[in-house]
């Protein structure tokens, strides 16, 4: 058996490896080989395998034969390029880069320009007729070698460079001349000497040491941390790529540029990009010269342009996606340095996907996978005009997408009053509470200093489809005097403010917005998605208006109608307060009776809007104290209005205080302790349903009990609900079909789902609360540590945004399996915030849920994500069958 080689060559129209050899050649290496095989002119080079790295690290010595193989391949490379490594007149320069099986952006050590030394630098200066470039390249080599190979601190080099600039009196590196750079080179050499380390003039020594340094970098501190966090096995090792350096600044027959195969903004087919003649990639980035449109290349170098066009076409059809291609022209010869799938706007993504299906490049399933469901939000909401320049003064968490402009106001009342005068307003609050709902509704957008993306403000704003930024903790809000301080900019009450809820940007002034326009390709994609998905998509909706919106966005029912939001409206809140302050069930019932007709009308509106579709109504859930007046003024006002002594109000409010309201007297516990509350709610639901049924409307109410932990709670409340429902239906003389079910939002509920399913006809996973309790994290307090947790990779994403599968997901799985064991046809859905998150939707599909429920504006996102989940599942099945 002959040993597999350590080194693999690519170039001159052929390659030893290909895309399938990722494990051996690393991701970067395998792709370089693949492109070469395709006939793409990539700068030739060779890859040292991961096996060599592993051997080196284990034995602390080069494997036998490696050096010989490198030398052989270097000769091959020299022949291919017509240059010689270390030659004074035609020096071959190479780069050395690491490349593991998977991309590890944190640990990539790179050394460019190897092969330069005191002599070859002169040769390069002559060849390129660009001494400045040549000395700069040498300076960079010295610095990179010093840092990466010799481990000298970055600052030492920077200090020397800064010194020379200071002496010269310039600020930019680019203002240094060739002479200046020679001075820098000397200083760097002195630095090496001072630090007692050498810089090898011998190019072979440079190369060998660089390779060893890259091998070793596999085990540096940050790489180990990265691997630990991302569960990457230590024994993989990294490959090393040695590749010819090419230069676009060797004259007017050279150049460099970037092109897309389709327009990344609109999706229109055709080369779209820019280039510079006699320039390096850096020059494009530095912006000192204005690049030209790629179309100009056709005039200047028609053959090169044609070649680029052909290659673009080849790459797009090979990779079956729009490509973003970096190229360099060295003395009329075109090199492709990199190709990758191009970033694009969602509008472009949709058009490209639809057109590629028409062109036969991809199938519909692939088209569906090509669109980021998250990005769909962008085309459903107004956006900032992309041609506008604006001033960002702060950045918060993008809680609800879209953009909005208006006058800054600092209270809900102010928002309502100002909006009533026809002004657009932005509501600015430290945080919002349920009492702010009116003001949030009146505002164009909401900005809060505190709270996470699942805080009250965020949840309500998404429900309203309203732009919202939360947790913007760098701004100082002075509510009393009415101003915001952000980065030294002060925006007074009434001052103009713009929010970009998709990015979290807080902008001074009003900037022009463009209205939402899904465009002609959108409905085609949605149609494909609906034909594929098996998961139903319902909406979380609390009002008749939103029910109509949800219906328009093609919701297949309501998965969560929160009755408490109905309680916060102006005409109701004081009646609710009276109910809470009641001293006896009788008193409480009196107050509840006043709420009955109001709730009934809401339910009528919602049930009518959702005719023929299920409407899940959750009975009262939040802690009662949420409804109570908070400030002394509010208490006084309430005391006056309802004729209840201030002391009593204060005492009751104090008595209802809870240390951890999330785990307090709420949910079905309210229904157990105060059955009259649930009874009146059930009455309102069934009076509404019966009235409509008599009009011939097809109503499908589903009554949902929140925060159940034990089947006995469900049993008691199911009895109560059934009894009241039957009473109402008898009174009304009509029967309507209905279901009684529960939220599964506590670990105990999931763990005992088999018992609970005896009493529940449907489950709806309340993943917000389930996440809080399973992980022991209060979502309102998580901002203090969750960002760091995500940063450290403890949780890959915010578990309140994307369902945490390791723990919460396990409980959902247990809940589904146990629930169906008891009641095989139990309807199972999810109504937490995760219902609108594509990654979580994929998990819900995998768990075999019947439906997900999300904010109305997220319905298209959810429909697409559900379709993608199905497509991915089929692909996996297909791969498994093929294997």
């Amino acid at each position: 058996m002959t040993k597999a080689p350590w080194v693999y060559f690519f170039g001159a129209g052929g390659a030893d490896g290909d895309a399938s050899m990722r494990d051996l050649l690393g991701g970067k290496g395998a792709n370089l080989h693949e492109m070469t095989r395709l006939g793409i002119p990539v700068p030739p080079g060779f890859t040292i395998s991961t096996q060599a790295c592993i051997h080196y690290l284990k034995e602390e010595a080069w494997p036998e034969g490696l050096e010989r193989e490198i030398k052989e391949h270097m000769i091959h490379l020299e022949e291919t390029m017509g240059r010689v490594f270390g030659d004074k007149t035609q020096p071959l320069l190479v780069s050395v880069r690491s490349g593991a099986r998977v991309s590890m952006p944190g640990m990539m050590d790179t050394i460019l320009n190897l092969g330069l030394n005191d002599e070859t630098v002169e040769g390069l200066a002559q060849v390129t007729s660009n001494p400045r470039f040549s000395y700069d390249s040498y300076r960079r080599l010295l610095q990179m070698f010093g840092e990466v190979v010799r481990g000298l601190p970055h600052q030492l080099f920077e200090y020397q460079l800064e010194e020379v600039k200071r002496e010269k009196g310039v600020i930019q590196d680019l203002d240094l001349t060739a002479q200046d750079l020679q001075k820098v080179i000397q200083r760097y050499k002195d630095l090496f000497a001072r630090e007692g380390v050498s810089f090898p003039q011998e190019p072979w020594a440079q190369l060998k040491e660089a390779i060893e340094a890259v091998f070793k970098s596999w085990n540096n501190e940050r790489a180990r941390t990265y691997r630990r966090i991302h569960d990457i096995p230590e024994e993989w090792g990294t490959a090393v790529n040695i590749q010819t350096m090419v230069f676009g600044n060797l004259g007017e027959d050279s150049g460099t540029g970037v092109t897309f195969t389709r327009n990344p903004a609109t999706g229109e087919k055709g080369l779209f990009g820019e280039f510079l003649l006699n320039a390096q990639g850096e020059d494009v980035v530095a912006g000192i010269r204005t690049p030209l449109s790629i179309a100009k290349l056709q005039e200047w170098m028609p053959q090169v342009y044609q070649k680029l066009k052909d290659l673009a076409c080849l790459l797009e059809s090979h990779y079956r996606d729009m490509q973003d291609i970096e190229f360099t022209i060295e003395k009329g010869k075109l090199y492709i340095l990199q190709t990758r799938s191009g970033k694009r706007t969602v509008k472009a993504a949709i058009r490209i996907a639809v057109e590629m299906v028409a062109e036969g490049i991809i199938d519909r399933a692939t088209a569906l996978l090509r669109i980021d469901p998250e990005q769909l939000q962008q085309i459903l909401h107004p956006d900032i005009d992309p041609n506008t320049v604006y001033c960002v003064v702060a950045r918060g968490l993008p809680a609800s997408p879209g953009a909005a402009s208006g006058k800054a106001v600092f209270s809900a009342q102010e928002a309502e009053e100002t909006a009533a005068q026809g002004e657009k307003v932005i509501l600015v609050r430290p945080e919002t509470s349920p009492e702010d709902i009116g003001g949030m509704n009146a505002a164009q957008g909401i900005l809060t200093a505190r709270g996470g993306i699942t805080s009250h403000a965020a949840v309500v704003a998404r429900g309203m489809g309203k732009c919202c930024i939360v947790g913007c903790d760098t701004i100082i809000i002075n509510e009393e005097e009415g101003y915001i301080l952000a980065e030294g900019v002060k925006i007074n009450r009434g001052g103009p403010l713009t929010l970009n809820g998709s990015t979290g940007e807080v902008i001074v002034g009003e900037v022009p917005l463009v209205e939402a326009d899904p465009g002609p390709y959108f409905s085609r994609i949605m149609e494909w998605a609906d034909s594929v998905r098996t998961l139903q998509v319902r909406a979380n909706v609390d009002t008749p208006e939103n029910a109509l919106l949800a219906r328009k966005l093609e919701a297949e029912g309501i998965g969560l109608c929160r009755t408490e939001h109905m309680f916060f409206e102006k005409d109701r809140i004081n009646v609710v307060r009276e109910m809470i302050l009641a001293e006896s069930p009788q008193e409480r019932k009196k107050a509840l009776t006043q709420l009955l007709p109001l709730q009934r009308e809401d339910f009528k509106g919602i049930l009518r809007a959702m005719e023929g579709l299920p409407v899940t109504i959750r009975l009262l859930d939040p802690p009662l104290h949420e409804f109570l007046p908070k400030t002394l003024e509010e208490m006084e006002a309430f005391s006056r209005e309802r004729g209840i002594s201030l002391e009593k109000v204060q005492e009751k409010v104090a008595r209802l205080h809870e240390f951890n309201p999330m785990l307090g007297l709420r949910g079905c516990r309210l229904g157990i302790l105060f059955p009259e509350i649930y009874r009146i709610q059930v009455r309102a639901i069934f009076e509404a349903a019966c009235t409509l049924a008599k009009e011939g409307v097809d109503v499908r109410p589903e009554v949902m009990v929140p925060l159940v932990a034990h089947v006995k709670e469900m049993r008691i409340l199911r009895d109560l609900i059934e009894k009241e429902a039957i009473t109402v239906m008898k009174e009304q003389g009509v029967r309507v079909g209905y279901l009684i079910g529960t939220m599964i939002e506590l670990p105990r509920a999931a763990l005992t789902a088999d018992e609970i399913a005896q009493e529940a006809e449907f489950f709806s996973f309340g993943t917000n609360d389930l996440t809080q309790t399973t992980l022991g994290i209060s979502r309102d307090d998580a901002a203090k540590f969750l960002p760091q947790y995500v940063g450290l990779g403890i949780y890959p994403k915010n578990p309140f945004a994307t369902l945490e599968e390791g723990g919460v997901g396990q409980l959902i799985e247990i809940g589904v399996i146990k629930g169906r064991n008891t009641r095989h046809n139990i309807k199972v859905g999810i109504c937490g915030e995760h219902g609108g998150d594509p990654v979580s939707i994929r998990f819900c599909h995998k768990m075999g849920l019947n439906y997900i429920s999300c904010s109305p504006y997220r319905i298209p996102t959810a429909r697409l994500a559900a379709a993608q989940a199905r497509v991915r599942e089929e692909l996996i099945k297909w791969e498994e069958e093929a294997a």
Copy 2:
């Protein structure tokens, strides 16, 4: 095949049934048959089977043959008793009682004195020479029949009785004469007529209707509710017992009494009880005559006494336990009405158990099962002198046992100051917070108005072994003016107050206490317990003093040493505050450095006290804001002392506010965000351990990370702990063995225990937090609804006192199994409050935990409970093997 009979006779020395026929005859019935078989003279009678009840309820008619069988058995009964049912001169009276397979105290319908009517009442008056008794018996029959059979409201009868008493001008029923009672009888009859229902004069009709009523009572509302809560099948039905009435008031050769087979206070062997001649059981209860010691019976009726003594001996050896026997002597004939295991003090229980083993009545295993581990608390703490009369003004939750007297004080500071003057004080607070620790320590006992039995006050007091009553919400505490209002009694600052922490009684004045005295039999029982149990018992201890106490009580290590309690002491709290307010890791480290020597000394004391035993030290757990000053005064004082501006203090305190601190920035999240805190704690532990090791002390520290939810948290902190431990050991030049482990106190931790076990060498289930998160109940807020929940039977017991097996238990099981799957020898324990609860300990044994950990004073309880768990397990195995 002949049909099984519907009716089973017992009496005249024989019985158709026995103790094994519980399903057919009900619990009560089967025991009456069993006793009769033993030759015990129980009043004869017969039992109608549960089958008859089921038949009746299903068919709504008497089963064929039932009536005939009853008549036959009634004749048998008449012959046995020499009386005739319905006879005017020698009337036989019977009782009719329900009796299901299991005791259902809520639904028991009973009718006494059946057989009385306008004529037989006169006969009974003559026979007993007691017309008052006879009319009273008849009145009672009318009332019971009216209520139970006819369903008339209780109040209607009470009203008539009250009227007659009012007319007569008396208050007590006993002040009514025979004539008055005849008047009541007439009024009752009028009542029947007015309500349009009859009272059958015919005794057979009375009996038949009474039997039917008992049958039907199986399906009354409260019985159905009771069955639903206790999972008793509907199809069981109830048996009906018809039993002869006997009377102890038929002359000087009659009497009634109660006797124990051993002294229930001391356990001494021998009859112990009292009796009355010519009296009924009621008379003993009513206390109008002073009963005589049972020894007197020997003088008055030597044969009867001898017979009673023999029967007592028989019953005790049959039931193998000390018996509490009710008897009646009717005209020289002794009847046993009831026998049951007698209630006894724990002291008596221990002596009886030890002596019965010596007597060969029971084995050691049974002896261990005979003692209520919970009651052991009583003999370890001082108690109120049982001979004292005292005035209870309020009742709270008995949070920590024992009794204590002292002057009432209203703040921790006051407690410390007054105690420093040599006074005994009782600390009275609305609730306690960690800052009150000093005052709690100085006080004899603690009383709080709020909080449950796992509130801060309760947990800390139990840890200190200090008497404590919490949640005493009927008292009003005025902290400012310094007084308590309870039931109209006002106790001012310095006023005398006594608490009974075992019962929850709050007592005005100082009452005499008796010191704890475990007695000579205690250590024997403990010795047996230790020889049997497999579960280790450790202690939860935070100070060197308590460590010594735990060692004395034979703890086998420390399962939980909370480092945060060390932070609250006077000399430390401001340094801790400075640490929290630090703006940078450097500043924080500076403050931490001041804490290092203090913590180190604590750890030295604890590790030294526990030489040779494991000491589990938990790193900092609670939310940082708990340590911060709360009132404006505290903030000002801190600001002055540490030279930090008041604004800054206020701002930081506000910033650290959390909505749900239980789920906030605490536990290992502190260690992840502020590694310097954990690092200094680890340093303190290992500096202490190394110093001692160099002195030759055998130290076994175990470092425990709290609130872990994800293995990555554990991985990061394990690295940190190991690194610091190794650094310290190198510095000190000595190696000590140690373990690193984690609390399992969040559902996610239990669900992913297989992953976490990769990094943890031991698990300790923190069942307080695990209960909170699994059930979604904040223990600090649970008082608002948990009592009702327990009352409704949703949870059988307070889940913070007794481990909730349905949900929390499932997670523990998952955690243990998954943890051992990864690391088969992982040490698993429990350190929540449940570690001291006998029922929970049984569960821990079943789950195969290695140890439990509890407050020092609960160690004997835990040792016994662990032994009982083992014994019960062996019994079950033995039964299974036998089957």
